[in-house]
């Protein structure tokens, strides 16, 4: 690989400074603060704190409910990512093939990404509510079968679907852009060689999509870990009996609602490490299969 070297320049540094300052003030400083709090017991109204070393981490990690929260977060992240990306890919393929009405459709499908997570949760309340939602029709046939307040798997399914619905739009834009950047000549050549749409998809488009695919995988997984809060809060509130108590929701519940700043800070650090580890694994093992053109 070719490497470029630049000489240090004060002008470049000065031009970079405002951006770096913003990054520092809004990212590194709060992270450092959280890291500090994670090793103390912080009084919410100020007034000092006590250094407790690794106690906060020990307490969190020895809690069996915390591990079930980690488990459900991983399930949620994987399930929403798979669901959202496969839906996005299928929809992008349709649009790319310019099926009837694709122009209206292309605009409409971008909208969900602009909807705030709590609003998504609320909208899906109308779908999943056992008493008044669309799913309540199931209950008229089999009374009591659909009940988010009773069955953990149903609650998890509900937040996965709501979460995936929100993510589809983002992945869709990238998939579509990537599909459209595939040179037409390639597709036409393949078509002339007798490859039908499905074959062209398998042998031509998907391999050329791998960089986009990889990028979206990393972004989607990270997003599902950190951006699921609004959906959980409005749709299930972490219930029934903690079944949808995702890590990021637990951080909110303990830190903001319960004023346990230190415990929440420790959980944030753990979440950050987990997301970093997952991203590392993806770069280490999955990126190998990606072909950049």
């Amino acid at each position: 690989m070719r490497r470029a070297y630049f000489k240090f320049s004060w002008i470049a540094a000065a031009l970079l400074a405002p951006q770096l300052l913003i990054v520092f003030v809004f990212f590194y400083w709060p992270s450092a603060q959280a890291l500090y709090w994670a090793f103390t017991l912080e009084q919410p109204w100020g007034g000092g704190n006590t250094w407790v070393g690794f106690d906060n981490f020990r307490q969190v990690l020895s809690d069996p409910y915390y591990w079930s929260s980690v488990r459900v977060s991983v399930i949620y992240a994987l399930a929403t990512t798979v669901l959202a990306m496969s839906m996005a890919l299928i929809l992008a393929m349709f649009v790319d093939r310019q099926l009837a009405g694709y122009k209206a459709y292309r605009v409409a499908i971008i909208w969900p990404y602009a909807v705030a997570a709590p609003a998504v949760g609320l909208a899906f309340q109308f779908v999943f509510n056992p008493g008044a939602g669309l799913f309540s029709y199931i209950n008229t046939i089999a009374p009591g079968w659909w009940d988010l307040s009773k069955y953990p798997w149903q609650a998890v399914t509900a937040i996965v679907i709501a979460g995936a619905w929100k993510q589809v739009a983002y992945s869709f834009i990238f998939f579509l852009a990537a599909l459209q950047s595939i040179p037409r000549s390639l597709t036409e050549a393949a078509a002339m060689d007798g490859a039908r749409p499905l074959r062209r998809m398998m042998d031509l488009q998907l391999p050329l999509l791998t960089p986009t695919f990889f990028f979206l995988l990393v972004i989607n997984i990270t997003d599902s870990f950190t951006d699921s809060f609004g959906i959980v809060d409005t749709l299930t509130g972490g219930g029934p009996f903690r079944a949808t108590d995702l890590m990021v929701y637990k951080i909110y519940a303990d830190g903001f609602r319960g004023f346990d700043y230190s415990g929440a800070a420790a959980q944030s650090i753990i979440l950050m490490l987990l997301v970093m580890a997952l991203t590392f694994v993806q770069f280490r093992y999955i990126e190998r299969r990606v072909h950049y053109t």
Partner: protein, 441 residues
């Protein structure tokens, strides 16, 4: 340049002084939302119109918990309001931080006379220190009751709304026998099922007199009558005399009641006004929360919220805050709140005056003062002054999650409550460690 700047600065200063001469502004952040939030905003404009010295800038914070969260964040940045409306569960940290101006002291320092003895003991004890000094100003106060459908009761041949749990069970069985599919619309609530239940039965929620006497407190509710009560609720649900009615399960208890689907539900007296506005098509009434037979009933305690004066504000702002608090405490303003919500009077004199005027003999207020009966049943005992626990919000959440697990058949009720207690105790230990060496004033 410098000259221009100094002119601008001077102009700004002049403007500020002019504004200052007009009215002293102070901020008030409140948690009530919806119709009740509108009532708060209304009291602010009434206050601002009533005098020329101060201006209350009232900002709704979309919920009690958010009001406290936002105030903490603002406080740490030094931009907090003078007044905060806070709910009970949010105040243990505030009490220990000492970052507030006790209202008794504030009123004395400013020179506003308040007859503190006029407050109902069930309310006063909840919001005051051991020495009887009020931390915060009681305002929107409530206590739980149960609402019942009089038509359903008449059809089932129940002539009087029972005040014992045994009696209520008989009534629910009679309702079921009369063809009523849903008797009690049940939604587990730690405020009612645990906290107020323990108050009226004079049993402890936690050691150290429910946390008043120290921070080394442990929860005790897995050893009291509360266990039997929750087992009964479980049995009622299994027998079909009670039905789970929560938002997550599809419909809230209040909606089920108002629509006439269920005959009984438990809630705060604050809902009295709401139920009335939803205009049910049947006759309904309220009754005090029941006790078990053979137990001597004690008082229930106040719920709702109170107004805290925070530290670090100017003398002028404190004067404004004091004026606003004094304004809220007047009979007219209490009555304004009562007429526009389901809350109850906080002072004896206001209550007596309202009784004398026949306020509670008119619709829609008839029988709403049954809450007063519950609140003043006895003088508060060491166990019925209230609850003072750190991490109360998490303790409530642990209780709810465990109780729900028991209702779903994942564990027995006793196991669930044992787990809730041991997890709650971890919260209390953390809290005690965070405030090592301190105690509730």
């Amino acid at each position: 340049m410098t000259f221009k700047l100094s002119i601008t600065a001077f102009a700004l200063m002049a403007a500020a002084t002019a504004a200052h001469a007009e009215k002293t502004k102070f901020e008030y952040w409140y948690g009530l939302t919806g119709d009740l939030g509108a009532v708060v905003a209304e009291t602010c404009s009434r206050f601002n119109a009533s005098q020329a010295d101060y201006e209350a800038v009232c900002v709704g914070q979309d919920g009690y918990d958010k009001a406290v969260q936002n105030t903490i964040a603002a406080f740490r940045a030094g931009k907090h309001p003078s007044l905060l409306q806070s709910f009970d569960a949010g105040t243990a940290d505030l009490m220990l931080s000492g970052e507030f101006y006790p209202v008794t002291k504030l009123m004395a320092d400013i020179g506003v006379t308040v007859d503190w003895a006029d407050y109902f003991p069930g309310i006063a004890n909840y919001y005051s220190s051991k020495s009887g000094e009020f931390f915060s100003m009681p305002w929107n106060s409530s206590t739980p009751v149960y609402y019942f459908n009089k038509d359903h009761f008449a059809k089932a041949g129940i002539t009087e709304a029972p005040i014992t749990w045994e009696g209520l069970e008989q009534a629910l069985v009679a309702l079921k026998d009369s063809g009523q599919a849903c008797g009690l619309a049940y939604a587990p609530s730690s405020w009612i099922d645990l906290e107020q239940f323990s108050m009226v039965h004079n049993v402890p929620v936690a050691s150290n007199n429910n946390g008043y006497d120290g921070l080394d407190t442990e929860l005790l509710f897995n050893t009291t009558l509360h266990v039997k009560h929750m087992e009964n609720m479980q049995r009622w649900l299994a027998d079909g005399v009670a039905m789970m009615r929560t938002q997550a399960a599809g419909k809230t208890a209040r909606d089920s009641f108002v629509e006439g689907e269920c005959s009984v539900f438990f809630s705060s007296i604050a809902d009295h006004n709401t139920v009335h506005t939803l205009t049910p098509t049947f006759a309904w009434d309220v009754q005090i929360i029941p006790t078990y037979e053979g137990v001597e009933r004690t008082n229930s305690v106040v719920g709702g919220a109170s107004l805290w004066v925070l530290s670090g504000k100017t003398e002028a702002e404190y004067k404004g805050a004091a004026a606003y608090l004094a304004f809220l405490a007047t009979k007219e303003e209490q009555q304004f709140l009562l007429e526009n919500s389901g809350y109850i009077p906080v002072t004896k004199s206001t209550y007596d005056a309202l009784l004398a005027e026949g306020f509670y003999a008119k619709e829609p207020y008839i029988n709403r003062d049954i809450a007063m009966k519950s609140l003043t049943w006895t003088e508060p005992t060491d166990l019925t002054r209230g609850i003072r626990l750190g991490g109360m919000i998490q303790i409530r959440a642990e209780w709810l999650a465990e109780v729900e697990a028991a209702f779903a058949g994942q564990k027995t009720m006793k196991e669930a409550l044992d787990t809730a207690v041991s997890r709650g105790n971890e919260q209390l230990a953390r809290f005690a460690k965070t405030y090592a060496g301190k105690s509730f004033p």
